[in-house]
Amino acid sequence: MAPTPGRPSEARVARGERARLLVRTPSVLIGAAVVGFWIVCALFGEWIAPHDPVFDNTFPFSEPPTRDHPFGTDTNGRDVFSRVIVGSRDVLLVAPAATLLGTVLGTALGLVTGYFRGAVDDILSRIVDAVLALPLIVIAVLIVTAVDSRSTWVVTVIIGVVFTPLIARTVRAAVLTEAQLDYIEAARLRGEGSMYVMLKEVLPNVMPPIIVEFTVRLGYAIFAVATLTFLGFGIQPPSPDWAAQINEYWNLIDPYWWMVAFPALAIASLVVCVNLVADGIREVYE
C-alpha cells in the first residue's frame, strides 16, 4: 500500500528531521568531509597518489619534505605522501568489518539475554562484566598471541569478538526497556514465537542505539587496528598502512620525523573525525 500522497509518513519526517539536524552541525560536517576524503583515498588511492606507494622506490632515500615530496621520502626511497594517501585502505576495511561483526554478534546476544532474562542472562552478563573489566588491547594481544597468527582476518575476528559484549550490553539495556511495553505481550498473546517477537517486534525499536553504538565503536576499532598493527599484529608490510609505517620507522623518529609524523596525523584525523560524526549521530538520536 502506497502511503497517502502529499503527506509523508511520520517516520520519514523524523528521518528527514534527523538528517537536517546532522547537516546543520558544523562538527559533523567537518568530520564527514575528512572521513569521506579517506574513504575516497582508500578506494581510488592509486589515481590520487602521485607515485606508486610500494614499488616506486627510485627517489633519494630519507629525504625531508620538499616540493616534489611534500611528506618526504622513506628509507627505501618511497614517497611518504603517496603512502599516506593509500595507507587508509586496509584499516578502512578491517575496522568496519570488525565493528560490523561485533555489532551483529552483540545485537544477537543482547536480544537473547534481554528478551529471555533468567539464568542465560545472568551467566552471559557476568562474562560481559569480566570482559569489560579488561582493556581491549590487552585482550586482543592475549588472543593474538594465543592463536599465534598475525593475519588481518584474525585481527578482524578478535576485535569483533571483543566488541560483542560491549554492544550486547547496550542492546540488552534497550531490549529490557522495550520488554516492559505491552506490545510485546500483545504479540505473544496472538501466538507469536520468540524469534518473531525478537526480530520483528523488538529489533526495529532498538535500532537507534545500535546505530549509535556502531559509529562509536568504529572509532575505537580504527584505533585498535592501528594499535595492533603497530605492535606487529594485523596488517603487515609491504602494505603502506599508517600504523605499519609507524611500526617500521618509529625508532628512526629522530631525525626522520616525517616518516612517522604524517601517518600518525592521518590516523589521528580519521579517529577524531569518525568520533565527530558518531557524536553527532548520537546527539540526533537521543
Partner: protein, 677 residues
C-alpha cells in the same frame, strides 16, 4: 517587593502564549483572562492540550524554552510577573507562588532524605537552619502525616504516592504562598488516597485561606474543591462561573458536551449510548477564525464561523463565550440514544470460570499473595467489572485468565474445559478466545509498525486468514471500529489517543474473541474520547456477544458498562454481585469506602468514609479479614481472627463480611443514600 494594595490574588489579562515549533509560532493560549480573589479556590478544567498546564507554567514563569508570552499581563499579589527575571523572579518563586505537580515522585529528589528537602523549603526563605528543622516537623504534621520524625528520615521511594504528595504539599505551603497552583495533584493516585489528599487540601485551604488555582481534567474533583471554575478549550476560556452553576446549568456547548460524555448519576449501558463531542480539538497553533468550538458545535452557524463571541454574561457571575448560550442546554445529541442490548442469559454454562484461583509471587525470599482463592464466572455477552485499589490483584487476575502468568492454585476454564496454565501451551482456538485491550495504547502498539501491518498480522495469527480473505476481513474490522483507510496507512505516532485505542480494540477483535480483558482502556483518554470508546465496546458486545472483564478505577465507567461487579482487596474477592446491587447497597464496608471516596459532579454525595492508613503489604496480609486494619465498621476480635467466608448474602450477591447483610443495610441506610457518579 512592589506589593500594591490589591483585591485579587491572581489576575491574568488577555494572556497569549505561543510555542515555537519548527520555526513557527503556534498559539497555545488565546487571550485568557481570569481573576482569583484572595482565599478563593478557582478550578481550571479542559481536556488535554487545551492549555491548562501552559497557563500554570506562564504564571510561575516557567514556560519551556520554546514557549513565550506574546501578550497580556499576569499579576500575582500586585507583582507584575511577565518578563520577571533574575533575582526578582527567584524571590517571586521562593516566596509568592507555589506549584504542586501531578507526579509527586518526580517532584522530590530521589537521592535526598525527605527531611533535607522539607528543611530547604524553609531555609530558602531565610529561616535559620535550627528553626527550619522544627518547622519541617510541624509542616508534615500539618498535612496529617502521623509520624513526621520518621518520615523526615526516609527517602522518597520509601513513601507511597499519597504520602509523597502530602510532603510536596507541605513544601509548597512552607512559604505560606500568596497563590498555590495544584496541577492535577491527584491524577495518579487511587480513589481512596485521592479523597484523602483532596480532603486535606480543602481543609488546609479553609484553615490558611490560601488562594488556590486548581487544574484538573476531572470535573468531579473540581466540583469538590473549587468555588469558581473556568473551562478552557483550545487555549480560550469559553465559560466561567460558580462551580454549581456551571456544572448544573452549563451555557457553552463545549461544557454541555463534556458533561454529557461522563457516565454519571447511575447511567448504564442499557439506558443508551453516551453522548460524545464529534471531531477532535484543533491542533496546536491552527488558525481559527470565529469561535474556537465551531468545528465541533451542533449549534454553530455562519455567524460563529466569522465572528468570535465575547464572554457574555448569562447569569450571576456566570459568563459564556457563545452567541447561542441560551440554546446551549438543548444542544442536539451527537449520538443516537438507541441501543439494543440482549439480556445476559445466565441459565446456561458460563463462558469462563475459575475456581479458587490464586497466585503467589516470590519476591526476595518473601511470598507475595497477589491473589487468593478467587472464584468467579463470566457468561457470554456479559461484562464483569473489576474494581479495587492498586495492589488489589485486578491485573494479576486478568493475567492469570490470559495465561501470561500461571496460577499457583486453581485453574481457568473455558466452556467447562480446563485451560493450560500458560498461553504458550494453549491452542490457537483458546488464545483467540481470550484477548486483551491494554490501558496505554502507546505502549500496546509497536511504534515501528503501521496500523495495517499490526491488524493483518493479528488476522493471520488469530483468525488464520491471509491474502484476499485477510484484506476483506481487515476492511470489515476497520469499519467496525470506525477507522478509515487513511488510518490504516499510518503509524501509531500519527494517531490521536482515541484512534490508537480503536486500533488496539480492532487487534483484540481480529480473531472474534469470546472474552476480552479491558485493562483500564479509557483511563489514558479524555472524557469525550472515553465516551466514544465505551460506546464502541458496548456496540461490539451487542453485535458479537463478547464478554468483557473490565478493569477500571473509575467507578462511573465501571457502573456504566458492567453487568456484574467484583470488588477485590488485597487479592481477595470481597464482594461480587449485579452492578446495581453493588452500587446501591447494602455494600461491603470496603466497597462503601471506595464509593464514598469518589468526588461527584452532582455535588453533595454521601459522607466520606475515611479509610485509616494504607493498604497493607501483600507479603504479610493481616490475619482474619484482610480489611480489618482499615475497616470503619470493624466488629471486634472476630474480624482479626477469622476470615469471613464469601457467602451469598442475597440472591446473586456475594459478600465476605462478618456483619450480616441486614445489619449492613441498617447501618448504611442511616447515612444519606446518594449514588456516586
Amino acid at each position: 517587593m512592589t506589593a500594591a494594595p490589591t483585591t485579587t490574588a491572581l489576575s491574568v489579562r488577555d494572556l497569549d502564549v505561543v510555542y515555537r515549533v519548527r520555526g513557527h509560532d503556534r498559539q497555545v493560549l488565546r487571550g485568557v483572562t481570569l481573576e482569583i480573589a484572595p482565599g478563593e479556590s478557582y478550578g481550571l478544567v479542559g481536556e488535554s492540550g487545551c492549555g491548562k498546564s501552559t497557563a500554570a507554567l506562564a504564571i510561575v514563569q516557567y514556560l519551556p524554552p520554546n514557549g513565550r508570552v506574546t501578550g497580556g499581563a499576569i499579576t500575582v499579589a500586585g507583582q507584575d510577573v511577565v518578563g520577571m527575571r533574575g533575582r526578582s523572579l527567584r524571590r517571586y518563586r521562593a516566596g509568592t507562588v507555589s506549584m504542586v505537580y501531578q507526579n509527586p515522585g518526580a517532584a522530590l529528589n530521589p537521592a535526598l532524605r525527605i527531611g533535607r528537602q522539607v528543611v530547604e523549603a524553609f531555609t530558602i526563605r531565610g529561616v535559620p537552619r535550627g528553626e527550619a528543622a522544627a518547622r519541617a516537623r510541624d509542616a508534615l504534621a500539618l498535612v496529617q502525616i502521623a509520624d513526621p520524625g520518621s518520615v523526615l528520615e526516609r527517602y522518597p521511594h520509601q513513601l507511597s504516592g499519597g504520602m509523597q504528595q502530602r510532603v510536596v504539599i507541605a513544601m509548597a505551603l512552607a512559604k505560606n504562598p500568596e497563590l498555590l497552583i495544584l496541577d492535577e495533584p491527584t491524577t495518579g493516585l487511587d480513589a481512596t488516597v485521592e479523597a484523602e489528599v483532596l480532603d486535606l487540601v480543602a481543609g488546609l485551604q479553609r484553615e490558611l485561606h490560601t488562594t488556590v488555582l486548581f487544574i484538573s481534567h476531572n470535573l468531579g474533583v473540581i466540583a469538590k474543591m473549587c468555588s469558581r471554575v473556568g473551562v478552557l478549550y483550545a487555549g480560550r476560556l469559553v465559560e466561567e462561573g460558580p462551580v454549581e452553576t456551571v456544572l448544573e446549568d452549563p451555557r457553552h456547548p463545549y461544557t454541555v458536551g463534556l458533561l454529557r460524555c461522563i457516565p454519571r448519576g447511575g447511567v448504564r449501558k442499557d439506558h443508551g449510548r453516551l453522548d460524545t463531542i464529534p471531531g477532535s480539538p484543533p491542533s496546536l497553533g491552527d488558525e481559527i477564525s470565529g469561535c474556537v468550538f465551531t468545528a465541533r458545535c451542533a449549534l454553530a452557524d455562519d455567524r460563529c464561523r466569522v465572528e468570535e463571541p465575547p464572554l457574555i454574561a448569562v447569569g450571576a457571575a456566570h459568563e459564556s463565550r457563545c452567541w447561542y448560550h441560551e440554546r446551549a442546554p438543548d444542544l442536539p445529541r451527537a449520538e443516537a440514544v438507541d441501543v439494543a442490548l440482549p439480556a445476559v442469559d445466565r441459565s446456561g454454562d458460563p463462558l469462563v470460570e475459575c475456581e479458587d484461583l490464586g497466585k503467589i509471587f516470590q519476591q526476595r525470599g518473601h511470598e507475595v499473595h497477589a491473589l487468593s482463592g478467587v472464584s468467579a464466572a463470566v457468561w457470554p455477552g456479559e461484562t464483569l467489572g473489576l474494581v479495587g485499589e492498586s495492589g488489589s490483584g485486578k491485573t494479576t487476575f486478568a493475567r492469570l485468565l490470559l495465561g501470561i502468568v500461571p496460577p499457583t492454585t486453581g485453574a481457568v476454564q473455558l466452556d467447562g474445559r480446563e485451560l493450560a496454565p500458560r498461553y504458550r501451551k494453549r491452542s490457537r482456538e483458546d488464545i483467540r478466545a481470550l484477548q486483551i485491550v491494554f490501558q496505554n495504547p502507546d505502549s500496546a502498539l509497536n511504534r515501528r509498525h503501521g496500523v495495517r501491518r499490526i491488524l493483518l498480522r493479528s488476522l493471520r495469527k488469530l483468525a488464520g486468514v491471509s491474502g484476499a480473505e485477510a484484506e476483506r476481513r481487515l476492511a470489515d474490522l476497520a469499519s467496525r471500529v470506525r477507522i478509515t483507510e487513511r488510518t490504516l496507512t499510518q503509524k501509531p505516532v500519527q494517531l490521536s489517543g482515541g484512534l490508537k485505542q480503536r486500533v488496539a480494540i480492532a487487534r483484540a477483535f481480529a480473531g472474534d474473541p469470546r472474552l476480552v480483558v479491558c485493562d483500564e482502556p479509557t483511563s489514558a483518554l479524555d472524557v469525550s474520547v472515553q465516551a466514544a470508546i465505551l460506546n464502541l465496546l458496548v456496540e461490539l458486545q451487542a453485535e458479537k456477544r463478547v464478554a468483557y472483564l473490565f478493569i477500571s478505577h473509575d467507578l462511573g465507567v465501571v457502573r456504566y458498562i458492567s453487568d456484574r461487579i467484583a470488588v477485590l482487596y488485597l487479592g481477595r474477592l470481597q464482594e461480587l454481585g449485579p452492578a446495581e446491587v453493588v452500587f446501591e447497597g447494602p455494600h461491603h464496608p470496603y466497597t462503601e469506602a471506595l464509593l464514598s471516596a469518589v468526588p461527584t459532579i452532582d455535588g453533595g454525595g454521601r459522607e466520606r468514609i475515611k479509610l485509616e492508613g494504607e493498604i497493607p503489604s501483600a507479603a504479610s496480609p493481616p490475619s482474619g479479614c484482610v480489611f480489618h486494619t482499615r475497616c470503619p465498621r470493624k466488629l471486634g476480635p472476630i474480624c482479626e481472627l477469622e476470615e469471613p467466608p464469601l457467602v451469598e448474602a442475597e440472591p446473586a450477591h456475594f459478600m465476605r463480611c462478618h456483619i450480616p447483610i441486614d445489619e449492613l443495610r441498617r447501618l448504611q441506610s442511616k447515612e444519606p443514600q446518594e449514588t456516586p457518579a
